[in-house]
């Protein structure tokens, strides 16, 4: 960069622009899940009884534990940004690591939850499920699609967090340049946001 042009120097690294881009991407994620929420709303409206009957099959306690796990992971994620802003690299790595560990706990919980349902034949096309009413079939269909898509996002988040830990370690993300970590945080909080709505809509409609 041999132009000493202020404009160009400013444009060389545009953290603000990167955040705008990230937010726009988050909106696409929001609308992606939004489509599913519209489907949920329509069928909940049409088959209210079937939905509340089916939701009794879910274990509120497991859902609540997973909610707490995700909320806590959001906390550690947010704190890791403060840590790197203060130049406390080790603390920041530790906090991102904690986020990752909590994400793993969430996935393990999810795994046991789904496996239990599968054992009872409550999966799309499962014999047990097909004998039930349409409302219950749709409830479980949406349950698997929506929590499944959410779980995929958690997995992607874990990959991103691993990258962030490496970047923090190598100093690629540091006290003066941490927009990547900020954007990863934004993504992770969105995953949390989606769950904040999934939890009451699937677990708490008795």
């Amino acid at each position: 960069m041999n132009h000493s042009n202020a404009v160009q120097a400013h444009m060389h690294r545009d953290d603000y622009g990167a955040k705008i881009g990230m937010w726009l991407f988050l909106f696409t994620e929001l609308i992606l899940f939004g489509g599913l929420f519209i489907v949920y709303a329509v069928y909940r409206f049409t088959y209210g009884d079937g939905f509340s009957l089916a939701s009794k099959e879910l274990d509120t306690l497991v859902g609540m534990i997973n909610t707490i796990v995700l909320l806590t992971s959001s906390l550690t994620m947010a704190m890791s940004i403060t840590a790197i802003q203060q130049g406390r690299r080790r603390l920041s790595i530790g906090l991102v690591g904690a986020t990752n560990a909590l994400a793993l706990v969430f996935m393990v919980n999810k795994y046991f939850e789904w496996t239990a349902k599968f054992h009872h034949g409550l999966f799309p096309g499962g014999k047990e499920l097909l004998e039930r009413t349409n409302g219950e079939i749709l409830y479980f269909g949406l349950y698997y699609v929506m929590t499944g898509l959410h779980a995929i996002h958690v997995l992607i988040g874990m990959v991103i967090m691993t990258f962030m830990m490496v970047y923090l370690k190598t100093g690629h993300v540091n006290k003066d340049s941490f927009v990547k970590l900020e954007n990863s945080g934004l993504y992770w909080h969105l995953v949390d946001l989606i769950w904040i709505f999934l939890f009451p809509l699937f677990y708490l409609i008795h």
């Binding site: 603000y16 622009g17 705008i20 726009l24 609308i31 489509g35 599913l36 049409t46 079939i137």
Partner: protein, 546 residues
């Protein structure tokens, strides 16, 4: 970016010849230069467009006479499906934004590149991957999809053809479109040159900005909807399957929540382009700049609220019927504002009928026909009569091809000298324009009449009374294709041995005409400081011809 250092050493080397760190084809398909990516899109789209035209030609040939003419009914279903998928997802949606938006958006706002150059390259790769998936789906066992480009449930779940690859192709292309939208919105917010305020931006940029928002906010809906169809087919979840309680009409809602805004993704950039071309060739400051700018935003907004007018006959609630009909009437207002302003700009201008202007004027004519017939269908009573007839086919071809298609051709002729530094043969360009214009109208106007008389769309066979109209229409398709071949050949010849074009052959006043043709890698040696609005023709209006 190793290109930076090299380009500033030899500032006159244009982006086509600039030596990067890579050689040969890799210096193109791995380039993050927005201009090279624009040209990559142009090449890919040109190929897909040729295939789409070929399928269209085959449809018309089959319909020249009742009964079987050249293909079986099943083949015919696949051909119109592929024609739709290719033309919609691979040509018109990426058309202006991906080719000319990529090439000219940074230049028109005085920037060196888009905000996220690598994301830009990724979106091209996704585009190519999606296109290849669509093509591969044709040859896989099971046969090409035969659902129409709308993938309506329940048929798209029941048919044994390769619907899943086609759906995944559309999903990938949607992702590519989203990335372009994110890039453009961010670029417009962040990289405007000093002095380039919002109301000094060229109107093409306003339309790309509005389009970017629609791409970001509407595309994910169709993404999830298509994924749900994949899940439905693969696992039988029941979300849209009536046998399990699902509602096929909900699929239509979700599909059109995206796909109606998508038609504004297609038309808005073309409207912006027309707003660039008209003032240049009328030598007039654009009439009602801010009205055109805001109407782009209004179209993006209102256009997102009218989707269910595609569903007036499926049995929605009466309330939904009249609300969506009302909203449909409202969305015509901002479009009409644009047309009024273009026509007012022409009034008392010194009009030069160069090839880009001819295409732009044809745009106004054909878009008006397409728009008015759209209003007719927005009226509930008439819609019952016209739904799923060839009237609809004529309507959307008038808007999409007569509008956006002609907009793309106008852009090609308008910016060709800037992109390649050469000038095509204008006489041949004019002749090809006349052929395309006549061919287009002969092809599609009869379909209005046939549709009004009751000719259903997508039918393989028809009653004998429609034959004369279909015959005329097919003749039109031949004239059209002849014109298209001539236009493309003329441009390719111009590329090979056209005369050297000056940096401002049309007398334009926007920023791209202030730099050399073809532009350098960096576009601008120093970032310009903007002091006036984009279309300053006051010296012509005072009578001082340059």
């Amino acid at each position: 970016m190793s290109n930076h250092a090299l380009a500033s050493q030899s500032a006159r080397t244009d982006f086509m010849r600039a030596a990067g760190s890579r050689k040969g084809i890799l210096s193109w398909i791995l380039s993050t230069d927005h201009k090279r990516i624009g040209i990559l899109y142009m090449i890919a789209m040109g190929i897909f467009f040729a295939v789409g035209v070929l399928f269209g030609l085959l449809i018309r040939l089959e319909l020249i006479a009742p009964g079987k003419t050249i293909m079986e009914a099943q083949t015919y279903n696949s051909v119109f499906t592929l024609h739709g998928i290719i033309m919609i997802f691979l040509f018109i949606i990426p058309g202006l934004p991906a080719v000319f938006g990529n090439f000219f958006l940074p230049i028109l706002i005085g920037a060196r590149d888009v905000s996220f150059p690598r994301l830009n390259l990724l979106s091209w790769w996704l585009f190519v991957a999606g296109g290849l998936m669509a093509i591969v789906s044709v040859f896989l066992p099971g046969g090409p999809a035969d659902t129409g480009w709308t993938f309506y449930i329940p048929y798209s779940v029941r048919t044994s053809t390769n619907v899943i690859p086609a759906l995944l192709a559309a999903f990938t292309l949607g992702f590519s479109s989203i990335l372009t939208g994110i890039n453009f919105v961010t670029t417009v917010h962040r990289l405007r040159a000093p002095g380039m305020t919002w109301f000094r931006m060229p109107l093409f940029i306003w339309s790309l900005y509005a389009t970017g928002w629609v791409q970001v906010l509407a595309t994910p809906i169709v993404g999830i909807t298509l994924l749900l169809v994949v899940v439905e087919r693969a696992l039988g979840v029941g979300i849209f399957d009536p046998a399990l309680g699902g509602d096929p009409i909900l699929y239509q809602h979700l599909f059109w929540i995206y796909s109606h805004p998508a038609v504004y993704i297609m038309i808005l950039p073309a409207m912006g382009l027309i707003s660039e071309v008209i003032p240049v060739f009328a030598r007039r400051t654009i009439f009602g700049y801010s009205f055109i700018a805001f109407s782009s935003i209004a179209i993006a907004l209102l256009g997102s609220l009218v989707w269910a007018h595609h569903m007036f006959t499926v049995g929605m609630s009466d309330t939904a019927q009249w609300i969506f009909s009302l909203l449909t009437f409202l969305v015509s207002i901002p479009s009409a504002i644009k047309v009024f302003n273009w026509v007012s700009t022409l009034y008392k201008g010194s009009i030069e009928l160069e090839p880009p202007m001819l295409f732009a004027l044809a745009f106004i004519f054909q878009f008006s026909i397409g728009g008015f017939t759209g209003l007719m269908q927005g009226a509930l009573a008439l819609n019952m009569h016209l739904h799923d007839t060839s009237f609809i086919v004529a309507h959307f071809h008038y808007v999409m091809f007569g509008g956006t298609g002609f907009g793309i051709f106008a852009a090609m002729h308008y910016w060709f000298p800037k992109m390649f530094g050469k000038m095509y043969n204008k006489a041949r360009a004019n002749v090809s324009f006349i052929l395309i214009f006549i061919g287009f109208n002969v092809l599609y106007f009869p379909l209005f009449i046939a549709g009004y008389m009751g000719m259903p769309r997508r039918y393989y066979d028809y009653l004998p009374e429609f034959q004369s109209l279909h015959f005329i229409s097919t003749i039109g398709s031949w004239i059209l294709v002849l014109g298209l071949i001539m236009m493309v050949a003329n441009l390719l010849m111009g590329l090979r041995n056209g005369s050297r074009a000056s940096s401002n052959p049309w007398g334009g006043t926007t920023l791209e005409w202030t730099i050399q043709s073809p532009p350098t890698v960096e576009n601008f040696e120093t970032i310009p400081v903007v002091a006036t609005g984009p279309y300053d023709y006051s010296r012509y209006e005072r009578g001082e011809h340059a």
